[in-house]
Subunit: 332 residues, 2 copies
């Protein structure tokens, strides 16, 4: 491919588009059949799960990841928290005219690497080129297919009064890192996104009988996951603020700019709900993982409450209402 | 929902987004579980097929369809031409800030109706809101899962010298209709897009032993499908121009504006390759369908040729090269 930037001709069904797909996409995806209208999936051994996600993060590249790795983590994490093992992905790329092809390829290489690490194959794809000014550089959409053990019974409807809430690591890193990458605060320091596969964390717990439900706290953060649980169960939640892991630099930036890390997106964390008798076992299994050092028990589901209550360091209580408008748009 | 236009808050993980999803999306999709991270699929009885497509058509609404119905037809047609019966869809919507919510809902209703007619369930979805000026109104991506009879053996590698080429109806209607809807030519008349499910056409042929391959001629049109066949088989193709169905108004517009209908997108047609002995039977089965009146045999695969040769009305021959840049961008 001789061009250095995307043109509308790369989206129009002819030779340019074929070369773009061959050289920038198919080359990095061993299992992609770009000649087929539809590809067969091999899906033995369990229940088939299906999920999809769109990605519009700005900037396209940020400390700790880019829109490509994020598009793999975001969708495979939705399969993972449902208890499944991700197997296949489809990929849609909406590419803005004028995008630098070298940047596009960096992103696709990163996407392919993330998929390979998780063991998921990108088997179907499509590209469209958007007119200059109408595309924000690049938007991606990924749809995932995974396999789940048919004996696993997870869901919001499994949650009971007194169940314990765990989080697998510090919250808000993705949100703050992308925000700092976007703005010119000169504050980046050691901050980087937590964008990663949560599969090791979810698979560590699926063998525990008392596991009720898992979710990755993305848009809207940990507090929004709590509100989703509360809406579905008609129970309240009490969180112990001092137990919620927030990294020192994330907390500093939040204090400085007035953000609450509990509402900021993570892209590599899991919130798990588990019966009390199994909570310590679950925590031990998470803490034994290479990236599990910051996993903690952060609170409980409480039937007699109707709100999300945060117990502060000094024993006071703060009510966290549902988010209406996230402070940081275009975070994923 | 009280708002009349999309705002960035509709994309940010909070209450506004939840209301948008509940009221404009989930309400129209009975099988969509917008509380789940991933949904189970029931997939007994055959091979599982998987495909994806992105949609950026401008304008969003055009005579004969809109981006919503097109997003269903485009993706389910890819399953259909592979010989599968579409079963499930995921839907990604990238919505531009400022989009009129009434228009969004018209499009989603049309999408839901198209899905229902085909018998495919939209079971997973995601929405993102794009900043004003960065979204072209609305982009969609759909990923489809279907089931195919395991005995069916279709593919470019099945095509043999002398195989016969059929098309299920007139070509170029979609391309010309969208183009006229975009520009102010005052020429629309009776023209409308052919956007439709091709499932009745594909299922009519899957019982025929000699069926080799089917494809829907979308971006790049009929001529591009022929070039794809030629690249994969290393054989040439001879088409009889007078036998290729082109509607009178499409031909008139093409003559006037200098387009070739063989390179224009269809969104509801099938090209089928079949062994010669079965070609008349296949044609009869297509012509017996409600929308099959214009189905015809248009040519043959010819091993001794290396090009796409069009035999004209007067016996002359014209070579059709591969498209480099489609005359009509943003057609699907």
């Amino acid at each position: 491919m001789q061009d250095t930037h995307i043109s509308l001709a790369h989206g129009n069904g002819g030779r340019y588009m074929r070369e773009l797909i061959d050289e920038i996409f198919a080359r990095h995806f061993a299992k992609l059949d770009d000649q087929a209208d539809a590809v067969p999936l091999s899906l033995n051994g369990g229940e088939v799960l299906f999920t999809t996600d769109g990605f519009t993060v700005q900037p396209l590249e940020f400390p700790g990841g880019n829109i490509g790795s994020l598009a793999v983590h975001g969708t495979t994490n939705d399969l993972a928290v449902a208890g499944a093992i991700p197997r296949y992905l489809s990929l849609n790329a909406f590419i803005e005219e004028g995008m630098e092809i070298a940047q596009l390829e960096r992103i696709i290489i990163s996407l392919a690497k993330a998929a390979k690490e998780i063991g998921v194959d990108v088997v179907a794809g499509d590209t469209k080129v958007l007119r200059r000014g109408e595309g924000g550089g690049l938007y991606l959409a990924t749809t995932g297919v995974g396999i789940r053990d048919t004996n696993l019974n997870l869901g919001l409807d499994q949650i009971r009064d007194g169940d314990v809430i765990l989080v697998s690591g510090s919250v808000g890193d993705h949100g703050i890192s992308v925000m700092l990458a976007r703005e010119q605060f000169g504050l980046r320091g050691s901050l980087h996104s937590d964008s990663a596969s949560v599969l090791p964390f979810t698979q560590a717990l699926t063998g525990l009988d008392g596991l009720r439900f898992m979710r990755d706290p993305t848009r809207g953060g940990l507090a929004t996951v709590c509100h989703e649980i509360m809406r579905a169960t008609n129970m309240g939640i009490r969180l112990q603020q001092p137990d919620i892991p927030v990294s020192e630099p994330v907390q500093s930036v939040c204090d400085m700019l007035g953000y609450d890390p509990l509402f900021l997106a993570c892209e590599g964390r899991v919130v798990a709900i588990i019966e009390p008798a199994q909570a310590e076992q679950a925590l031990a299994q998470w803490q034994a993982l290479p990236d599990g050092g910051n996993a903690t028990i952060i609170g409980q589901v409480v039937a007699e409450l109707s709100q999300l209550v945060l117990v502060t360091e000094f024993g006071g209580e703060r009510i966290l209402d549902e988010l209406e408008d996230e402070p940081l748009p275009r975070i994923c």
